[in-house]
């Protein structure tokens, strides 16, 4: 399939394993993401989707497995490593500091520095506010002021800020964990537009969603996880109805392309 094409994938995860105590969240997952591709990652609740993506974003350290970026082995030992490598993630639970304002959250961890004296780095708040404002405007995000504390925002606005934060810095790889969960129908449309736009700008994107029609609409390829294993990996084709039926059959365990017992090579 896609893995056999001539170009090197931008991301390749090999045999990723991760356990939390007795829970084996990932049992040896391989995942590739091609340049400029939108990959849909789906699966039932607790299938391991978020865990796999948190391994890529540096939030979790895998127990086993390797990660290659553009063919080179990388060791992601923390979120700062991933960010340096150009990987950004929108987390399922947003991961915003509610006590800080919108601009502070967008620039959290990479504040604009006006001047520095050794460890004392003075922020350029004005620059961060103006850039945040421009970013939100570009993304059509409706927040009355970038000085508003995040705790005063609605769920949808928070999700929008989280998306804005991950897409603000020209990341090469953008991971979105259920980016539309808190959004209204029109806002979902905007996020899908944004994903297309990011793709047009050259980003490679992984999107986790339970809304299969969204994956069908923007996705190039879909990977299905079940009980911490990959059970399907194929290009998005056909109409929504048949796409949905096929994906669901993998999600519920009716089909499995990677089962060791029934070795189905294609």
């Amino acid at each position: 399939m896609t893995a056999t094409t001539a170009t090197t994938p931008i991301v390749e995860m090999r045999n990723i394993k991760k356990s939390f105590g007795a829970v084996q969240a990932l049992r040896g997952v391989d995942l590739t993401l091609m340049h400029n591709e939108v990959l849909g990652l789906v699966g039932d609740n607790a299938a391991g989707k978020s865990t796999l993506m948190k391994v890529l974003s540096g939030a979790y350290i895998p127990d086993e497995g390797e990660i290659y970026l553009e063919g080179k082995r990388v060791h992601i030992t923390g979120p700062d490593d991933a960010r340096r490598l150009g990987i950004e993630m929108v987390y399922q639970d947003f991961m915003l500091a509610n006590n800080l304002d919108v601009a502070a959250n967008i620039f959290l961890g990479r504040e604009v520095v006006r001047w520095a004296l050794g460890p004392i780095r003075v922020m350029d708040k004005r620059a961060m506010e103006i850039q945040s404002q421009q970013l939100l405007r570009r993304l059509n995000i409706n927040v009355s002021s970038v000085r508003l504390k995040v705790e005063h925002l609605s769920g949808g606005q928070r999700q929008a800020v989280a998306i804005g934060r991950a897409t603000a810095f020209n990341a090469k790889v953008i991971i979105m964990d259920e980016p539309t969960a808190a959004l209204s129908v029109s806002a979902i449309g905007q996020v899908l537009d944004l994903i297309r736009e990011l793709k047009a700008q050259g980003a490679s994107i992984i999107i986790i969603s339970h809304r299969l029609e969204d994956i069908h609409e923007v996705g190039d390829r879909v990977v299905v996880l079940r009980h911490g294993r990959k059970v399907a990996d194929y290009p998005v084709t056909g109409d929504v109805q048949s796409f949905r039926e096929r994906v669901v059959s993998y999600m519920v365990g009716a089909r499995d392309d990677f089962s060791k017992v029934v070795a189905e090579e294609d």
């Binding site: 700062d80 993630m89 945040s132 404002q133 409706n142 002021s145 996020v191």
Partner: protein, 341 residues
Amino acid sequence: MQERAAGAGKSAPSAQITRERPAWRRSINVQELGILVIFLLWVIFLSLATDTFLTTRNVFNMLRAFSWIAIAAFGQCMVILTAGIDLSVGSNMALSGLAAAMLAVNNVPVPLAVLGGLVTGGLIGLINGLLVTRLRLPPFIATLGMLSIARGVTYGVTGGWPVRQLPPEFNQIGQLDIMVGSWPVPLPVIVMLVLAALVSLFLSRTVTGRHIYAVGGNEEAARVSGIKTQSVKLFVYVSCGVLAAIGGILMTARLGVAAPTAAEGYELDIIAAAVIGGVSLFGGEGTILGVLIGAALMQTIRTGLNLLGFPTYWQPAAIGAVILLAVTFDQWRKRRSRSVR
């Protein structure tokens, strides 16, 4: 991305940073304002009710007395902002003051003696920080242990006897008045004001300051944003230790004696000053300006109760009631701000 005007398309930029409250109004939050009003009312009341309160002498005595508490409370504020707590600050003040005093008594030049005291405080803070970040002990437990250890060391080193006859140059640090215009302003007060400005600017303007707030607001969010949350925590405990040491040295110099019993129970006053000033024990919320007002309120309540002839033995009960009121208010404020989202 909510409720956009129909057909607004790509127009109607909605994010704006104009139409804002003026800067002075933004820089002070609700609880600071509330506590400032309470403070001013209390001061006005005392000025009218007693004729000794609003004298230059009394005002500077109060300022001097609360400056140590306030300085230590700045450090406490930094720790509480990360949702931690430092119970060892009182013992730290005693031990750091004692270290400086013993060095001074043994003919170490005063600046070096002071440095010795600061290093002592910094080390106490470092150990607290390592216990919290490396051994992952809850801050309450780690610093409770340190409270006892540091106090025990002051007793052990002195055998229970106060260190007296400190060199006058050392005592000057706490007793010197500097003429500002026609007012003799005590040196500790000037140190306090300078530190208040520095710590306040540090917290609001620097990257590390912002990360301190972020760690207290949502530690996991801070971590996935690439912030070294454990380094931030280590930093606040060390800072708290050094600031407590500054307070302890000023206190010792003012009293002219380093008693092993010094600053006993101060941790409560210090934490109370921070909380009354609007620093939330949940972390992520509070300012140095608030702490300064909180410490001033604590001190004027103490002095005021004295001047009003409130029975001395009952005063701790009154102070305790004030602390409980403040914490209750803090919780109520938090809950309300959560529900109005």
